[in-house]
C-alpha cells in the first residue's frame, strides 16, 4: 500500500463526517431556539394575567409552539441523518431543562414570586442556560 493510497483513505474518512456535521447543524439551533423561547415564556409568566402583554405573550407562545411542532414534523420526514449520540444528548438535556423549568414554575407560583421580575428573570435565564449548554455540547460533539 502506497502512502498516497493511505492519504486518500484518510481524507475520505473525514469527508463524510464534514457532510454529516453540515446537515445536522439544525440540532444546535434547535437548542438555542428552545432556550430563548423558554426565557421569553418566563418573562411572560411574570406578568399579571389581566395585563395585555401577558395575553399577547401567551398567544405568541402558542403560535410559536404550533409553528415549532409543524417544523419538527416536516424535518422529521426529511431528516436523513442523525449525529452520533444526538438522541442521548437530547434526552438528557431535555430532562434537565424540564426539571429546571418545572422547579422554576413551581417556586414561581408561590405568592411572593408571582409577578416578581426579580425572580422570573433569573429563573428564565437558568432554564435558557440549560438549553444553551446543550447547544454547546451538541456543537462540541460534532467537532470530535
Amino acid at each position: 500500500m502506497t502512502g498516497n493510497n493511505v492519504a486518500d483513505h484518510l481524507v475520505e474518512a473525514e469527508r463524510p463526517a464534514a457532510i454529516v456535521r453540515r446537515r445536522t447543524r439544525w440540532a444546535v439551533w434547535s437548542y438555542i431556539a428552545t432556550g430563548t423561547t423558554g426565557f421569553g415564556l418566563a418573562l411572560v409568566a411574570s406578568l399579571p394575567k389581566d395585563h395585555l402583554a401577558f395575553q399577547v405573550g401567551i398567544a405568541a407562545s402558542i403560535a410559536i409552539g404550533i409553528v415549532a411542532e409543524v417544523i419538527r414534523r416536516l424535518r422529521r420526514r426529511r431528516r436523513m441523518v442523525e449525529r452520533r449520540g444526538y438522541e442521548v444528548r437530547r434526552d438528557c438535556v431535555g430532562g434537565v431543562w424540564a426539571a429546571v423549568w418545572g422547579l422554576a414554575v413551581l417556586v414561581g407560583s408561590d405568592a411572593p414570586f408571582r409577578g416578581n421580575l426579580a425572580y422570573w428573570i433569573p429563573a428564565g435565564a437558568a432554564t435558557a442556560l440549560v438549553m444553551y449548554i446543550g447547544a454547546y455540547l451538541e456543537y462540541r460533539a460534532a467537532r470530535r
Binding site: 474518512a13 454529516v20 446537515r23 420526514r77
Partner: protein, 113 residues
C-alpha cells in the same frame, strides 16, 4: 524480533473504497437514511445495496426498515463491532502513513548527508 507491518491489521472488508466510504459516513452518524448514504458516497442504489449487504453479513452494519408517515424508509447504522472495526482500521491507516512519513524523512536525511 521483527514486528509485523501494520498493513496486516487492515480489515479487507472495510478497505474496499466504496465500503470504506459507507463506513466513514455511518461512523459520523448514529443512523443515516439510505438515500443520504447513497448521495454522500456517490453510488447508485444497487451498488449501495450490494455493499451494505456485504457489510451486514460481516456484522458491521445494521439495516432497519420503517416508515415516516406513509413513506417507507431504510436506515443504516454501524453496529458497535462495526464502529470499533472502522476506528481500528483508520488507526492502522494512520500508523502506516506515519511509518511512510518517517521512512521518507529518513531517506531525505540520508540524501542530505
Amino acid at each position: 524480533m521483527t514486528t509485523r507491518h501494520p498493513r496486516h491489521e487492515l480489515d479487507e472488508v472495510i478497505h474496499a473504497p466504496v465500503r470504506f466510504s459507507i463506513m466513514a459516513t455511518l461512523a459520523a452518524a448514529s443512523k443515516a437514511e439510505f438515500g443520504f448514504v447513497r448521495d454522500t458516497v456517490e453510488v447508485s442504489d444497487s451498488v449501495l445495496s450490494k455493499q451494505v449487504t456485504t457489510l451486514e453479513k460481516a456484522g458491521y452494519v445494521q439495516v432497519t426498515k420503517g416508515y415516516v408517515g406513509k413513506r417507507p424508509r431504510t436506515w443504516l447504522a454501524l453496529t458497535p463491532g462495526g464502529l470499533a472495526a472502522f476506528n481500528n482500521h483508520v488507526a492502522t491507516l494512520r500508523q502506516i502513513a506515519e511509518t511512510a512519513a518517517q521512512a521518507e524523512a529518513g531517506s531525505d536525511h540520508e540524501e542530505e548527508a
